[in-house]
């Protein structure tokens, strides 16, 4: 097996772990942690792809932008979390089932 395939195989496991977290945990904090893990996997994929094709500089440029985005997204998520905690008194996303039908 080539190095690249091994890397992406492990990335797939990391991404799987992140999605499992988002699927199985009730706490919004853990949801965000799962989200972070998936993002890390995605970043690794970009860098790995850049390294494979000798395009590492370009890939780094992308990853820098992605990190900025990630920070803002996580900040927004945490803001929503805190606000939800203030309004609903809990950080349990499974309890949010007021909108249905």
């Amino acid at each position: 097996m080539s190095n690249f395939a091994m890397e992406w195989y492990l990335i797939a496991i990391i991404v799987f772990t992140g999605f499992y977290c988002m699927l199985a945990s009730r706490s919004i904090v853990r949801q965000l942690i799962g989200l972070e893990i998936v993002s890390k996997g995605a970043m690794l994929a970009v860098i790995s792809a850049g390294a494979l094709t000798g395009n590492l500089v370009f890939a780094q440029a992308l990853v820098l932008t992605m990190i900025v985005i990630e920070v803002v997204v996580v900040a927004a998520g945490l803001a929503l979390l805190v606000k939800n905690f203030r309004v609903h008194g809990s950080a349990d996303i499974w309890k949010l089932d007021g909108l249905k039908g």
């Binding site: 919004i28 989200l35 998936v38 993002s39 792809a49 890939a59 997204v73 927004a76 929503l80 909108l99």
Partner: protein, 476 residues
């Protein structure tokens, strides 16, 4: 990035940054600044595209591919309607008033970025900006439902971002570039397409999730229903359309679905489109909440666009573009009307409403125009776009798809008629007794949009020329 349209991105951003400072002591200034910015942009656009010489020349002198310009116009139009409506809708004491307008303007700039960019990664960046602003906009009124909608929107569409990034990684590796043009040239060449289409498929899946296509639609009803009333019009009318549906159409043209090198992808997309049409329409039949019903209807209408994009022939792309614009007009009207009803009667529960046509005639009649257009009744604009889509399906030999699309168009009419009956016709309920017509400024955007629906339907030949030009340019 199309430099000619860059100003449409930068000026709202500038305005958004100015608003908090300018409106620190005068909250009304925020309304005025936002509206003036958008109005100026719209006037500029009208000058660009609707000069008599341009119309006479069959729009050949439009800068860029025309599609961007059209969508920028739609973005500005819907955003202007929403901000104008909001200016009279927002309660006086709302603490985040200036942030609200700033966010709308930032989302406008992000949408302009989305529709003018020529690079997948930049597209992703702007879509993320748009998503982040939407989360905050949904929770503007700090209600529990708004938070719930925002959180579900946040987490259920996150897989889309991850998938787009992984798709970009694959694309970077197997295509060597992320620009639209390189993908277009690659698809036109004879090189083996496997890895590139896989990368494109991952990105496409991301856009499908962002567009709220069944079975990835679950966030959409909750977000639309929970959102602050004018925001749901903004969201359903243009935001999710630009962040998801626009990108799907773009991908369909770049992957050249019409020449069959990405056949499997095209078929999957069409299947999802039809599924979306069916599930959205059937789910809308039994809704009791007006906004939720409109949300399901929106899912169903997105299905038509996705179906046409998946087909990918020039005629189908024309239909998809036209339906995208039409969807922006009629969904805006319907959601803004639901906001008016909410403001006037205090609820959007259809079981509690009834007989509003007597007290709110304008709202009732504009709703009728919009819903008839949605259901595809001639001569309103929705009829033409659905007609083009169904014709394209028929011509491509997909008669089953065409018949089903037509059938669910009838179901659309059915659930909208039920909606109209429950909310506006029939006997007055206690909630309707004490609900006067909303004030004229709240009606102005709705009436403008209804007029646009009728005008687009009646002036269809002109519009057809434009859309034809767009389809020719983007399918080159």
């Amino acid at each position: 990035m199309d430099k000619g349209l860059l100003a449409y991105l930068l000026i709202p951003l500038l305005s958004a940054v100015i608003i908090p400072f300018a409106a620190r002591n005068r909250p009304k200034l925020a309304d005025i600044l936002a509206n003036v910015t958008l109005l100026a942009g719209l006037a500029n656009l009208a000058w660009l595209a609707l000069r008599p010489s341009i119309i006479r020349g069959e729009f050949a002198d439009i800068p860029g591919d025309g599609f961007s310009l059209l969508l920028v116009a739609a973005v500005y139009l819907v955003a202007l309607c929403v901000t104008f409506f909001s200016a009279w809708f927002i309660e006086e004491g709302l603490p985040n008033r200036s942030a609200y307008y700033s966010l709308i303007l930032v989302s406008v700039s992000a949408m302009c970025g989305v529709v003018t960019t020529t690079d997948f990664f930049t597209l992703y960046v702007f879509i993320e900006v748009l998503a982040v602003t939407s989360f905050a906009l949904i929770t503007t009124d700090e209600s529990g439902a708004g938070l719930e909608g925002a959180l579900k929107y946040f987490f259920l569409t996150f897989p889309a971002s991850a998938l787009i990034i992984i798709g970009i990684a694959v694309m970077l590796m197997s295509l060597g570039s992320l620009s639209f043009e390189s993908l277009r040239f690659f698809m036109a060449s004879d090189l083996p397409a496997g890895p590139v289409t896989f990368g494109a498929a991952l990105m496409l899946l991301g856009f499908i999730i962002k567009a709220g296509v069944v079975p990835f639609h679950t966030w959409a009803p909750d977000a639309y229903q929970g959102a602050y009333a004018p925001v749901s019009a903004h969201l359903a009318g243009i935001v999710t359309k630009v962040s998801g549906v626009y990108a799907i159409i773009k991908m369909a043209t770049l992957l050249r679905f019409f020449d069959g090198r990405a056949q499997a992808l095209s078929e999957m997309l069409m299947f999802l489109g039809l599924l979306s049409i069916a599930v959205g329409a059937l789910a809308a039949l039994k809704q009791t909440n007006l906004k939720r019903m409109l949300a399901f209807s929106s899912i169903s209408q997105v299905g038509y666009i996705v179906l046409a994009a998946g087909l990918g022939t020039p005629l189908a792309i024309m239909g998809a573009i036209f339906h995208l614009i039409n969807h922006a007009t009629f969904k805006t009207v319907l959601f803004l009307n639901s906001a008016s009803v909410e403001k006037s009667a205090g609820t959007t529960d259809m079981d509690k409403l009834g007989g509003l046509e007597h007290t709110m005639p304008w709202t009732s009649w504009t709703s009728i125009v919009a819903l008839l257009s949605t259901a595809g009744v001639p001569p309103l604009s929705g009829f033409w776009s659905k007609l083009i889509i169904i014709l394209a399906l028929w011509e491509a030999g997909l008669k089953g798809y065409a018949v089903l699309a037509l059938l669910f168009s009838i179901v659309t009419l059915a659930y909208f008629m039920m909606m109209q009956k429950k909310v506006f016709f029939g006997k007055k309920t206690p909630a309707a007794e004490s609900s006067p017509e909303v004030c004229a400024p709240l009606l102005a955007p709705v009436v403008l949009m209804s007029g646009l629906i009728v005008a687009l339907g009646l002036l269809f030949p002109y519009f057809y020329v434009y859309v034809k030009m767009v389809a020719e340019r983007i399918l080159l």
